[in-house]
């Protein structure tokens, strides 16, 4: 009986954490290259809409996912253009992306509201792994493919960032762009492509929402998840493996808070993930000491050759 509770809590936590993980992984890579993109929420919502529209029209949720990725990537390209090429303030550009994305999705999506997706993504079981006690049924039985693909993506990204030449290049661009430039790395090119990659990942996160988690389209359906993903990237200290645990922690906490429904008003429970985000950042800061988050050195600073 109690074991059942653990299993269902874990299973729900994994589902809830999936969009957070995908979006946070993208942002981790982007920030590792020295760019902040506050437009996660905007890229996610456009991804969610594009995914839904294509899946509804073609009947294939996986085609929908491709569309979601493309939409996220295209939106991110705007950010790359303004903040990397034109060296505009990254915070402002990202924020503009979020405002624009929420608005545009409202305009385009107005005729699609309130119709459930006819052919959503289905649950899958992972052979072999599903027979592991406790963890098997929780994580590998009756879950969305994107949930465990997210875990795989995290491991893959960790490997790329820390054990390949490409990862070293990306990290150098974020830590010391001038040195990377001197070593022959095309800093702006690296930044542009990482920003677009981050958008594609946010697109997956949005697609997961509209194609699997809540197979439908609703105005503003991302509901701040993009912002939580941004906090998650910091909470995970820009490490993809830590992001898995951070996302699962958020998911577990969120799921658990719903078991308290008998004691608290639902509005107070819905507030929890947001409060928990602040709490998590505070705990990290207290443990690490002021200003010692270990953020990439050149985070948030536009780069141009020959300045300073």
């Amino acid at each position: 009986m109690e074991l059942d509770l653990v299993v269902t809590t874990l299973a729900r936590a994994l589902a809830f954490s999936t969009p957070l993980l995908w979006a946070a992984l993208g942002e981790i890579v982007v920030e590792r290259a020295g760019v902040v993109n506050l437009g996660v929420e905007g890229m996610m919502i456009l991804g969610a809409l594009a995914g839904f529209v294509v899946a509804q029209t073609t009947g294939d949720p996986w085609l929908g996912l491709l569309a979601a990725m493309a939409a996220g990537g295209l939106t991110a390209a705007l950010h790359a253009f303004f903040s990397v090429l034109l060296r505009a303030n990254q915070y402002v550009s990202g924020l503009a992306l979020t405002i624009f994305g929420l608005g545009l999705s409202g305009l385009i999506g107005r005729s699609w509201v309130g119709r459930p997706l006819t052919n959503p993504m289905e649950f899958v079981d992972v052979p072999i792994l599903q027979s592991i006690p406790v963890l098997g049924p929780a994580l590998f039985q009756g879950q969305y493919a994107l949930s465990w693909l997210g875990l795989l993506a995290a491991i893959a990204l960790w490997f790329v960032l820390h054990h390949t030449r490409l990862g070293l290049t990306i990290r150098t661009v974020g830590e010391n762009p001038a040195a990377a430039d001197a070593a022959g790395v095309r800093v702006l090119t690296v930044r542009i492509w990482t920003v677009i990659f981050g958008g594609v990942m946010a697109g997956v996160a949005g697609g997961f929402l509209s194609l699997a988690y809540r197979p439908s389209w609703g105005q503003g359906m991302t509901n701040g998840l993009g912002w939580i993903a941004l906090a998650l990237a910091i909470f995970a200290l820009w490490d993809p493996l830590r992001a898995i645990f951070a996302a699962l922690l958020f998911g577990t906490f969120f799921t658990l808070s719903f078991s308290l429904q008998a004691y608290f008003a639902p509005q107070l429970l819905t507030m929890m993930p947001y409060l928990f985000t602040i709490l998590a950042l505070t705990v990290i800061a207290l443990r690490k000491g002021a200003g010692a988050f270990g953020a990439p050195e050149a985070l948030g600073e536009p780069y141009s050759r020959g300045e300073r």
């Binding site: 506050l38 905007g42 705007l78 303004f82 090429l85 034109l86 060296r87 505009a88 303030n89 915070y91 402002v92 550009s93 924020l95 503009a96 992306l97 979020t98 405002i99 624009f100 994305g101 929420l102 608005g103 545009l104 999705s105 409202g106 305009l107 385009i108 107005r110 702006l188 105005q219 503003g220 701040g224 912002w227 939580i228 941004l230 906090a231 910091i234 008003a265 509005q267 107070l268 819905t270 507030m271 947001y274 409060l275 985000t277 602040i278 950042l281 505070t282 800061a285 207290l286 002021a290 200003g291 010692a292 988050f293 536009p302 780069y303 141009s304 050759r305 020959g306």
Partner: protein, 364 residues
């Protein structure tokens, strides 16, 4: 013969205005194209909007009343942004200000003459308190204020929802989620039959003057500008970051709290759903402050412009049956084209003979 970008000195006021207006016009045209693309004929829509906002007295009053919260919150943000404190939390500060004012109006039992002043003070203090946490976390622990102020927006939204569904749910409003109507003594007076609550408008103008004075004439303002322009120099000059940040956030967040008082006591006159209480004023105020180039007096003008955009959104919702979120399209495009035009202020295009074409880095 080729063209080359060259850095220029401090841009003149005329250039700043010219480029900003050009960028805004560019954004409006892009909005029109997007609308056309997604099935809304832009020119008839634009004509309808102008007829019902600018050419109509009642419409005009709607433009101004929409801009009041944007002025208050926007002026506050110009101060925060001067010091590079990226307060994204004006939305939550506004909502909590409204909650405090509603609390005073519903439960204080104060005499009529004291009621409104107390509501404004409570709103200011509550908004300021909502900004206090992120300010402390930022200066003491280095926690990113963008994330914390933003998360508190959602917390504020759910606090309002909880109050109007639970403890403050109105007795007379069975089935609907809002509080009881305030006592008429708690209504902010409006201009004639319009919804233009002019005392709040006066307050906004006063706030802009006050912040201008603070920035230009006081030691505090000097420290704020120094923190923003050159934190290193500020440290050497012995600026107390802790104290200065705390004060500037209190003023900035308090102003947003006042905006909330204006909305709840000037427009709705009871605590309503956060989605109707604020149509994203706190976020739009960020655009107001940035478009004003962090100048509090200019923020009054940009707030009027974005108030017009919001009022146009209302017209489109009623006349063209479009969802309210679409004002975000205009807002986002304005913001993007303004930052995209920024290089024009820092560089000029000059004609030169036989030179290397500029690299991407130099152009930007």
């Amino acid at each position: 013969m080729t063209w080359k970008w060259e850095p220029r000195g401090e841009p003149t006021a005329a250039l700043v205005w010219g480029v900003s207006l050009g960028a805004v016009a560019f954004a409006m045209i892009l909005t029109g194209i997007l609308f056309a693309f997604f099935g809304v004929a832009p020119i008839p829509a634009f004509v309808t909007i102008v007829e019902r906002t600018i050419l109509d007295a009642r419409g005009l009053s709607e433009v101004v009343r929409r801009s009041i919260p944007l002025m208050l919150a926007g002026v506050g943000l110009t101060l925060a942004f001067r010091a590079r404190f990226w307060n994204i939390g004006a939305e939550g500060q506004l909502l909590i200000g409204a909650v405090a004012a509603a609390g005073v109006a519903l439960f204080s039992g104060l005499p009529a003459t004291l009621l409104l002043p107390t509501m404004f003070i409570a709103g200011f203090l509550a908004g300021a308190a909502w900004g206090l946490g992120p300010a402390l976390l930022k200066v003491r622990l280095g926690v990113n204020e963008i994330i914390t102020t933003l998360m508190l927006n959602y917390v504020a939204i759910y606090i309002v929802r909880w109050l109007i569904n639970g403890p403050w749910k109105g007795r007379s409003m069975a089935g609907f989620a809002y509080s009881d109507m305030f006592d008429p003594a708690a209504f902010i007076p409006t201009l004639g039959a319009t919804r233009l609550h002019w005392p709040t408008l006066l307050l906004a103008i006063l706030a802009a003057l006050l912040v201008t004075w603070l920035l230009a004439r006081t030691r505090f303002g000097f420290e704020v500008r120094m923190m923003g322009e050159s934190p290193e120099a500020a440290r050497y000059a012995g600026v107390d970051f802790f104290r200065t940040t705390l004060i500037l956030v209190l003023v900035s967040a308090g102003a947003a709290g006042l905006a909330g008082v204006g909305e709840v006591a000037g427009i709705h006159r009871r605590l309503v759903d956060p989605g109707s209480l604020s149509i994203g004023y706190g976020y739009t105020a960020i655009i107001v402050a940035l478009l004003a180039r962090r100048n509090p007096l200019a923020a009054l003008v940009t707030a009027l412009f974005l108030g017009w955009v919001a009022a146009s959104g209302d017209v489109m919702q009623v006349a063209l049956r479009l969802p309210s979120q679409i004002t975000g399209v205009t807002q986002g495009l304005v913001l993007l084209s303004v930052i995209g035009a920024e290089p024009l202020l820092r560089y000029k295009l000059v004609r030169v003979r036989k030179t290397q074409p500029p690299t991407a880095g130099e152009v930007a």
